[in-house]
């Protein structure tokens, strides 16, 4: 199947701003799905609210566009009730880590076989440029007009600590690498987190004088480096990308099958 066969083409052109990185994430995601040769009927995409969450409207899977922050909770119900389905959950950084932070850490803790994509553009775009938990200290936003005093999370460290068994970071610049990482995340049996650093020229870029989309994508290229690279040793400020965690631990739905076995034993 070609990549475009996974799209609901009648909804194009998409609603994202010119220069937004979310379309690139959609591209990487579908290339991963295509490479895996997955059937559309076995795929469920569950999303929340925000610019990123509109991605579910464009893919020809079973799609569940839910409430702000709650995508992983809905997805948990989908997956546990029908474990044979492949469940993808794209979220924005505010969606996943502010309003949805609790659901995020608990989905990771359960190690349920869901692939979570955090499309991190460091801003609330749909509501017009308020700071997110990923904006970071010293940034500017409509709700941080005197410079932001909120510190940001490290999604990778948070996911590791919460128990995710696959944790990776990539960017909207490294499209081939993104598709490869998402493919691995889908294949991984357990809770997978892929943080995709992406650009919002309309709000984050403009508010923080980062230039247009081209400059912002270049920033992603210049400020990230493969895990453990020589460049990282020379410049600790660089953000590492790649697969940080990939380990086999009992997966939640499989474990629940054992619960059913124990409950029905001798009955």
């Amino acid at each position: 199947m070609a990549v475009k066969d996974y799209l609901r083409e009648r909804f194009f052109p998409h609603m994202w701003c010119p220069g937004c990185g979310h379309g690139t994430v959609l591209n990487g995601l579908l290339r991963a799905v295509e490479k895996l040769g997955m059937s559309k009927n076995e795929m469920v995409m569950v999303s929340g609210i925000g610019c990123s969450s509109r991605i579910s409207g464009y893919v020809d899977f079973h799609t569940l566009h839910t409430l702000h922050g709650r995508a992983l909770a809905f997805a948990t119900g989908v997956k546990l009730s029908k474990p044979e389905l492949t469940v993808l959950v794209p979220m924005g950084d505010g969606d996943a880590l502010a309003i949805g932070g609790n659901h995020f850490i608990h989905a990771a803790r359960r190690n349920i076989d869901i692939t979570a994509l955090v499309m991190n553009n460091r801003i609330y775009g749909m509501t017009g440029g308020q700071f997110s938990p990923m904006s970071g200290y010293g940034t500017s936003a409509t709700t941080a007009p005197y410079s932001n005093i909120d510190h940001s999370f490290d999604v990778v460290e948070l996911s590791k600590a919460a128990g995710a068994t696959f944790v990776a970071r990539t960017t909207a610049y490294h499209v081939q690498n993104m598709a490869d990482i998402i493919r691995k995340a889908i294949l991984h049996e357990g809770f997978s987190v892929v943080e995709v650093l992406t650009q919002c020229p309309t709000y984050f870029g403009r508010k923080n004088r980062m230039g247009g989309a081209v400059e912002m994508v270049k920033w992603l290229k210049d400020n990230t480096t493969p895990i453990g690279s020589k460049a990282k040793q020379e410049n600790p400020e660089l953000i590492e990308r790649g697969v940080f965690v990939q380990k086999e631990l009992p997966e939640y739905c499989n474990e629940y099958n054992k619960v059913i076995e124990r409950a029905t034993k001798g009955r």
């Binding site: 469920v44 566009h65 948990t76 546990l80 389905l85 629940y256 409950a263």
Partner: protein, 383 residues
């Protein structure tokens, strides 16, 4: 046919047995007094039946998880109490908008806020109706004893599956924790409604949100042949977001009409000695037990007292209340709140001035003595 089983159980356990009887396959919940036993018993019983139980991180997640599981084609339920029910309002609205069959149990305790966790109240009647934002219709039912609780729980699943709607079971702490006899009928005794699934073949355009002439909307399970969109936004017949005024208007009307137009079908109530009653008590849930005690007691002394016990609270059976109370001189609403159903009864009858409240809001169960004292006041006899 197999024999009925007789048990001596808590109301919360009766609710579990009824849900399993109705075909419950998936439960997500979070511990909260006084509903916790529902989760505890389902943690044991659901996997025995091949179903799935999950304890979520909070009540918000619980209601979201059951919506997800309903979409894969399963009968689903969650259970909570006041504070958790407040958290569930967001997901409840989603289930209304996306037309997801599900059952939400609220074993009421005293509120507002953390309130009076281990004590009884009936303070969530209006929260059940209007707790989630926006215009909508809702179904809420209750019961005063375990046998009725069993029946309305099965009925809640039947209504949820028939009308693609969330149904709220508004029990209370006394019913939830009290132990009494329950006779579980043999399988097949109470008819069960199974979800209407589309007969549209794969590859043919399927409209998940296009009502048939009878107002019902055939579903297709996630993972099946039809891929469609589900959203909490106003949406078209394919489930895709739309802000077209005609679409918005049509959907809102449909969401309200499918419940309101079937209010008669959903109206469950019981009546005791109403025919010649001069004073009618209107009550529901555990309050109705005390009300019935008073009525029986007074009847033995020749007083013309009757009881109308409501089991369906929403849609409020206005015309039934009006008809039954028409010839009564006095109507006394017996409930454990500051007069929630009282307002509805006042609206329903011709003369709102003949409607009085007998209530108790201190966490104790309203007793026959409490009701008798109010009756004396109404009848001008003093306390």
């Amino acid at each position: 046919m197999e024999e009925p089983t007789t048990r001596f159980v808590q109301g919360n356990e009766a609710c579990v047995e009824a849900a399993l009887y109705a075909g419950l396959e998936f439960f997500a919940g979070y511990p909260i007094t006084p509903s916790t036993e529902v989760a505890e018993h389902l943690a044991i019983r659901l996997p025995q039946a091949g179903g799935r139980f999950i304890q979520m991180e909070d009540e918000i997640a619980s209601i979201c998880a059951i919506v997800g599981a309903s979409l894969t084609g399963h009968k689903v339920m969650t259970a909570t109490s006041g504070p958790g029910f407040s958290l569930m309002q967001e997901g409840l609205g989603y289930a209304v908008m996306a037309e997801i069959p599900c059952v939400i149990v609220n074993v009421q305790r005293g509120g507002p806020s953390t309130g009076n966790p281990t004590h009884v109240s009936q303070g969530d009647v209006f929260q059940a109706r209007w707790g989630t934002h926006g215009d909508h219709a809702i179904v809420a039912m209750t019961a005063s004893n375990h046998q009725d609780l069993f029946d309305v729980t099965v009925e809640a699943f039947n209504i949820a599956e028939t009308f693609r709607t969330p149904v709220i079971l508004l029990f209370d702490e006394v019913i939830g924790h009290m132990r009494e006899k329950l006779v579980i009928p043999p399988a097949g005794k109470i008819p069960l409604v199974e979800r209407l699934r589309t007969s549209v073949k794969g590859g043919v355009d399927y409209h998940p949100y296009l009502p048939r002439e009878d107002g019902r909307l055939p579903m297709s399970d996630f993972g099946g042949e039809h891929r469609y969109n589900v959203t909490g936004l106003f949406h078209d017949m394919w489930g895709f977001p739309s802000n077209n005024p005609q679409v918005v208007h049509g959907l809102l009307r449909h969401l309200v009409d499918k419940i309101q137009n079937n209010a008669n079908r959903m109206a469950r109530y019981k009546e005791y000695y109403l025919k010649d009653a001069r004073t009618i008590l209107v009550s529901y849930g555990s309050s109705a037990r005390s009300a019935l005690h008073v009525v029986k007691n007074r009847r033995a002394r020749g007083e013309r007292l009757g009881l109308l016990e409501l089991q369906t609270l929403w849609p409020f059976p206005e015309h039934i209340v009006r008809e039954k109370c028409e010839t009564a001189q006095n109507v006394v609403v017996v409930e454990m709140n500051m007069g929630q159903v009282l307002q509805l009864v006042k609206q329903a009858v011709d003369d709102p001035d003949k409607v009085f409240l007998a209530n108790r809001v201190d966490g104790g169960l309203i007793t026959p003595t409490d009701i008798r004292n109010i009756l004396r006041l109404i009848q001008g006899k003093g306390v």
